[in-house]
Amino acid sequence: MTNGSSQPTVFVVDDDPSFRRAVSRLLRAAGHQVKVFCSGSEFVASLPAAGPGCVVADLQMPGLGGLDLQAALAGSANPLPVLFLTGHGDIPTSVHAMRLGAEDFLTKRAPREALLEAVGRALARDARERAERTRGQEARARFDALTGREREVLEHVLRGQLNKQIAGDLGIHERTVKLHRTAITTKVGVQSVAELTQLWMEAFPKGQ
């Protein structure tokens, strides 16, 4: 996240120079910052330097196609949302693309409002996901400070167990459990178990 705070960019990837120019004009006129690429591979190569934003890509491109581009993005450190444009909307491909998490799927002649709204939605999603990713990272850093025993106690706390049960499970004294819990809340910086649980969810969204 080299420039996480900078203005988001719409990355236009299309092999057709004429359409590329037209769509980037529209997006600029609508107030977006735009960067164009003439092929999927060119964009993927520049991905490490890419900041926040979203991708508007042609689904059918020679070489690295739209779906390949999406797959490459999903596996990268900067999983920008992708908005597909296509010359002709064929349903199997669009379903596939959406299932892989495409933000939207529009024909090249979709109404301007639809396009701009979709771009807006994609940018919002990127901002949201980016913020979540940032928060999760901070939270994970806080949990990283815990010792092994404290982590064990934390897992039991998150499962909603009482001190007595935890002491029984871990084979330690109930007072020691209390000391660990105090250390955890102090280190992580929360006041209550509810806060602790929420922070944990942010740090490990899929319940790791």
Binding site: Q60, T86, T107
Partner: protein
């Protein structure tokens, strides 16, 4: 009536009758010069007989001498006409010898009318009555004229000439003519000469009876000539039979036979030619009348073909339409050749006409069917391309829309960015043109049309096809490459039909690579000049190739390896290339299949 009078008169009249007959034959057919000469010889014999009768019936030595003198006139005519006859009839003989004979005989005739009583006697002194055939006839006695030898020498020369001429004819192979004419001439002329010598020198006291020998001569020659006339008649019969057979054959084959004499512009023809060319039965045909019946568009080429054949004495072969009186038109194929009959004869053209309307109709029907099939195949090919084409159209249309929307936003700004709007408008025009081109190509391919051959730039042809297949190639992840040298000469062909062939082969090639790893999916369109004034085009794919056994059958209709294919694409491509005078074939190897075709280089290049 005495026997002498009867025999000599009958001999004379028989000769005259023969003379008249053969004179008439010659009068009808001037080429029959032998008949004229025979008529002259016969007439001379008749006159000779008359003079002999006069001698036998003369009352005074003076009258006898006069009769002998006049006898030499028919004798001269007889010899001269026989020389000519032998020369003409046997088509041989030394000319100098012939002239010598005639000269000697003419000299004898001059001497005959000299100071002596005649050629044979200086003077006839007395007449004696000699019994002959039961009556008394006059025989003269007198002083023999030694110049008589000139006459007898001419007879000797005549015999030599005839013998020589007959020998030449015999050697040449005309044995019968040589034997009958030569033999009888020699035999009877010798006999006549001996008769005359014996009597005129006074060795034998008898009247001159050479007439009888000359009659034999006339009979022999007359027999030979009538044989000739007979064989000619037989020939005529044969010919007319052959003529009938030919007419029958011509009728059966629906052939109209004709002979055109150009100098007189007359046409002889079999009966079936008249209705074939739209003439009434029995109406005389001439080239002029014929041309008015030929379709106006075909008139000039037909006339030129006739003239060219006449000028170059070559074969004549043409096809044209005739307009029938009922307004229908009929296709005729005509073949002919020029013939020069003999020396100085007018050139004639012999030929046949055949009604080929049915064939032409079939041909037209075939062409129409081919065009329909080609069209159907194009429509089916385009339907395969439909989604690709939609993409190809949506690209510029989408660009136009986005540009227009951008322009609208830019114009709302204060101040509006007019420079950018101007650039946008230029782009819009360009994209509109691009979309229009795609539509034009598609429409051209969808149109039902015949073959229109024009000069074409092959590279341009290929690039137009690539516009149509590019989207499909992208979807199929096939890389397309074109290797057309810039030095390639322009080709001559029908733009749409050749594009159809390219489209077909390219789509086939791309389809063949469906199961091939993506990185190997490459299709190359190559073109190079080939021998025989052709351009060879190759479309190479990297698919699994075609089994050798199938290679041969690829261009057969309904032979297909695709489950949903009609199997018409390659046969239609084959017939299109065939119609261009080119060749189409396929080769297969481990690296894939390559389809080749050739098209002629434009002769204007």
């Amino acid at each position: 009536m005495s026997w002498v009078t009867i025999i000599w008169s009958m001999a004379a009249s028989a000769c005259l009758t023969l003379a008249a007959m053969h004179f008439l034959i010659w009068a009808r057919r001037r080429a029959a010069r032998a008949d004229l000469l025979f008529a002259l010889a016969s007439a001379a014999t008749a006159a000779y007989a008359g003079c002999e009768l006069w001698m036998m019936r003369s009352q005074t030595p003076q009258e006898f001498a006069l009769a002998v003198r006049w006898l030499h006139v028919p004798a001269w005519a007889l010899i001269v006409s026989l020389v000519a006859f032998a020369h003409v009839y046997l088509r041989a003989g030394r000319l100098w010898l012939a002239w010598t004979v005639c000269g000697a005989r003419t000299l004898a005739l001059l001497l005959n009318f000299g100071p002596a009583a005649n050629l044979n006697y200086r003077e006839v002194t007395s007449l004696r009555q000699v019994p002959f055939l039961g009556e008394a006839v006059s025989v003269g006695t007198g002083v023999p004229n030694p110049w008589m030898l000139v006459g007898q020498l001419s007879l000797l020369l005549f015999v030599a000439f005839v013998a020589d001429t007959s020998l030449a004819a015999w050697r040449r192979g005309d044995r019968r003519q040589a034997l009958v004419v030569g033999g009888s001439l020699v035999f009877f002329a010798t006999g006549g000469a001996i008769d005359a010598v014996l009597i005129l020198w006074g060795i034998v006291q008898a009247p001159l009876t050479a007439t009888l020998l000359y009659l034999g001569l006339v009979a022999a020659m007359g027999y030979q000539l009538s044989e000739d006339a007979l064989s000619a008649a037989r020939l005529t019969d044969d010919l007319s039979e052959r003529d009938q057979q030919m007419t029958l054959a011509a009728d059966a084959a629906d052939l109209g036979l004709w002979v055109w004499t150009a100098s007189q512009d007359t046409v002889w023809a079999t009966e079936n030619l008249n209705p074939m060319l739209g003439f009434a039965p029995g109406e005389p045909i001439s080239a002029e009348a014929f041309l008015t019946r030929v379709h106006p568009d075909d008139r000039e080429p037909t006339w030129q073909a006739l003239q060219r054949a006449l000028d170059e004495k070559s074969e004549y072969s043409t096809e044209y339409r005739v307009l029938l009186p009922d307004g229908r038109q009929r296709w005729i194929a005509a073949r002919g050749r020029v013939e020069r009959p003999g020396r100085g004869g007018a050139p004639r053209m012999l030929g046949v006409c055949l009604d080929i309307s049915a064939r032409k109709q079939d041909e037209a029907e075939m062409l129409r069917l081919h065009a329909d099939l080609a069209h159907a195949s194009r429509v089916s090919t385009l339907s395969q391309l439909a989604s690709g084409l939609a993409h190809e159209l949506n690209q510029p249309l989408g660009a136009i829309l986005r540009n227009a929307e951008a322009a609208e936003l830019l114009l709302r700004r204060d101040p509006p960015d007019l420079e950018e709007v101007q650039a946008i408008l230029a782009d819009i025009c360009k994209d509109d043109q691009r979309a229009g081109e795609v539509i034009d190509h598609m429409r051209a391919l969808l149109k039902r049309r015949g073959l229109e051959r024009v000069e074409l730039d092959f590279a341009e042809l290929v690039s137009e096809v690539l516009v149509l297949v590019q989207a499909d190639a992208t979807t199929r992840k096939v890389r397309l490459a074109v290797e057309v040298p810039t030095t390639l000469p322009p080709v001559r062909g029908d733009r749409v039909h050749l594009q159809q062939v390219l489209l077909n082969l390219i789509l086939n090639g791309m389809e063949a690579m469906t199961d091939v790893p993506v990185e190997q999916r490459r299709l190359v369109v190559r073109a190079r000049p080939a021998e025989g004034g052709m351009v060879e085009v190759a479309i190479a794919d990297a698919g699994p190739g075609v089994a050798t056994a199938k290679l041969e059958r690829l261009f057969e209709p309904f032979f297909t390896s695709k489950p949903d294919g009609l199997g018409l694409g390659l046969p239609v491509s084959g017939s299109i290339i065939g119609a261009h005078g080119g060749r189409i074939w396929a080769e297969s190897g481990p690296a894939g299949a390559t389809f080749y075709f050739t098209v002629p280089v434009s002769s204007g290049a």
